[in-house]
Amino acid sequence: MSEAIASQPQRNIISRLWNDKETRSVIIQIIAFAAIFAFFFFMVRNAISNLESIGKDISLDFLSQPSSYDISQSLIEYSSRSTHFRAMIVGILNTLLVAVFGVILATLVGFLLGVLRLSKNWLTNRLAYVYIEYVRNVPVLLHILLLHGIIVHSLPLPKNALNLGDAAFLTNRGFFIPSPNFEPLFWVVTGLFAAGIIFSIWFSRYAHKVQDATGRHYPVFWINLGAIIVVPVLAYFILGSPITWEIPELAGFNFKGGMVVRPEFVALWIALSFYTAAFIGEIVRSGISAISWGQTEAAAALGLSRGRILNLVIIPQALRIIIPPLTSQYLNLTKNSSLAIAIGYMDIVATIGGVTLNQTGREMESMTIVLLLYLTFSLLISSFMNWYNKRIKLVER
């Protein structure tokens, strides 16, 4: 009896603290922080004692040791005597290569699919729909393996390669294509191309200003096209085609010369792009159909032509809806490129997280590097896209 009375005020304090919103939130946060801290402390202590018991330390020295493995496709000079660090750079470049090419192809195919899905033609529409549903409902790894299997098993050996106009050869060891040799005069063409881009940026702004001030409309698209494409192409022929092509030739059991695109890269690139394109197609379709029909009618009532309705009214508004999900598709493509390891394309995961990890036994360090690299990519792409989003949002009034 006396105990119950004694504990009464104490319980009151606790319940009063608990019922006060401010103190309760402080209490909850202290508990949460303590729990998280304890969890990490537990993990780190385990890791330290585990590493000690097998006599390992944490160091990045292994990065400067020779890697002693080969990488079939590399954008920079690399041999098995290069360091693990260089192998990692090769891996990063390979990931970036497939990601950049993949994003470009996926965007092109995706927009095409989106437009086909909106087509009034029933047959085209259904075909695009069937394609999108098939691709979206099958794992991307399966697409990659299937395509790789088809390339490796169905294409001929170099001896009887598929010959495309005596210049390119398709074989199961890779696609052999001519490689360009740039002569000094070619830099003039490159310079003109760069100048064309700068001119067209300036000209678009100028034309915009003139149109705002006077209402006069320049054919911006055609003039820019001329500046960027036609002038450099003309210069190329006037200067006497300053590129020579080195054409691959069959020598023994394989091709020599030219450039080789490995089947792993082709399989990964095509599969990733066409997979992501199905998602982009749906994004484009829903983005464009989200713009109300009244916009089109209003633009038509102003007397705009069909092309200008699309360019000036529909697409700018649709892009605002399309771009955020499009970004996450680009990110997905980059992350999915890590599946390269399944077919032996040497990307980040396959080099530093695969062979290097197995050879040196540095699980902790290698995996941390891989995770940090991917996090950096993601943060870079998403911050760029956030910046872009903000920029186009400003147009809204």
């Binding site: 939130s25 909850i28 946060q29 949460a32 922080f33 998280i36 993990m43 385990n46 890791a47 004692s49 585990n50 590493l51 018991s53 087509s119 009034k120 033609n121 029933w122 047959l123 085209t124 075909l127 549903e133 098939y134 979206r136 409902n137 099958v138 794992p139 991307v140 790894l141 399966l142 393996l145 299937l146 299997g149 088809i150 098993h153 992350k335 999915n336 890590s338 599946l339 390891i341 399944a342 995961v349 997280g353 990890l357 699980e363 902790m364 995996m367 891989v370 995770l371 991917y374 996090l375 993601s378 943060l379």
Partner: protein, 369 residues
Amino acid sequence: MTEKNYIPGEHPDLPPPSNLIGPVAWIRDNLLSSPANIIMTILSVWFLYIVIPPTLNWFFLDAAFTGEDRNACRAVADGACWAFIGERFKLFTYGFYPEEHRWRVNLSFILLIAALIPVLFDKAPFRSLGLKFAMAFPFIAGWLLVGGLGLQPVPTSQFGGFMLTLVIGITGIVFSLPIGILLALGRQSNLPIIKVFCVSFIEFIRGVPLITLLFVASTMLSYFLPPGTNFDLLLRVLIMVVLFSSGYMAEVIRGGLQAIPSGQIEAADSMGLKYWQSMRLIVLPQALKISIPGIVNTFIGLYKDTTLVIIIGLLDPLGIGRASLSDTKWTGLSTEVYIFVAIFFFISCFGMSRYSLYLENKLETGHKR
């Protein structure tokens, strides 16, 4: 022809002119309405003509359904060699699960269907009982498959095939939704420490590919556990898959939470509801309803991602297929294997997306235009 005379205003409605209805008009409207449309139709038909006959040939007409090995197949037909799939079908379904215990897998599968029906359809008979059973199902199935407590234990390294896909997929789906909801609420919370923790967890998970997390699970995780603990590989993979998809789930649900007007929460507050009550009774039912398409998409993504476990050496159907390909009797049949597995995934994922459409329509309470 005699015309019947009608009193003015009494003339019955005439049928529409024959060129406005029927298949002919439909074809004209949908396939041949303009020159561009006609070109599209011709291109599509040409595309179908190129694609369909060879595909049909390869799949059925020129395919071998029986045979001892690859050469026997090739002797009969040039197309697909389905005999391979037929011979390995049990392996594809059960993996290396011991022959005499396979009834446990079958029983779990039947129980799975029994548990799914009350969850999926609200007109199912005995629904409240069924829902209780569905809650218990993951544990019953876990016991049946792994063994122990009277059943002979089966090591998880013998799990494989479609059964492994279902185990990983369903565990992921069951556990990632509640964790995702908690993370989403944490991200919206006004307690800074909890918010920071949830945001950094979600952003980390969404920033790295699943495969690196699986690598972490298979190579690195054992360092972080007390010395001497031996953690089952499948369990480690399951934990990673659940964490991974709950990060994505959290973002989907956050989208739904943000779409709920703050008036709803204020109204709940003024009714005297506590935080969890207002979330459970007012906010979440609305938020989850909006996010159904996103949630189902995450489920489908998770289910498809189960194939990645082959890279750390678990034998899901894709892994079984690749392992079988190294058998010299059947070498070079990768296309058949991959297409077979693709059909399995297509059926499951397409089913899920159709169900999500059905659910959206059923829960639609707004004014649909």
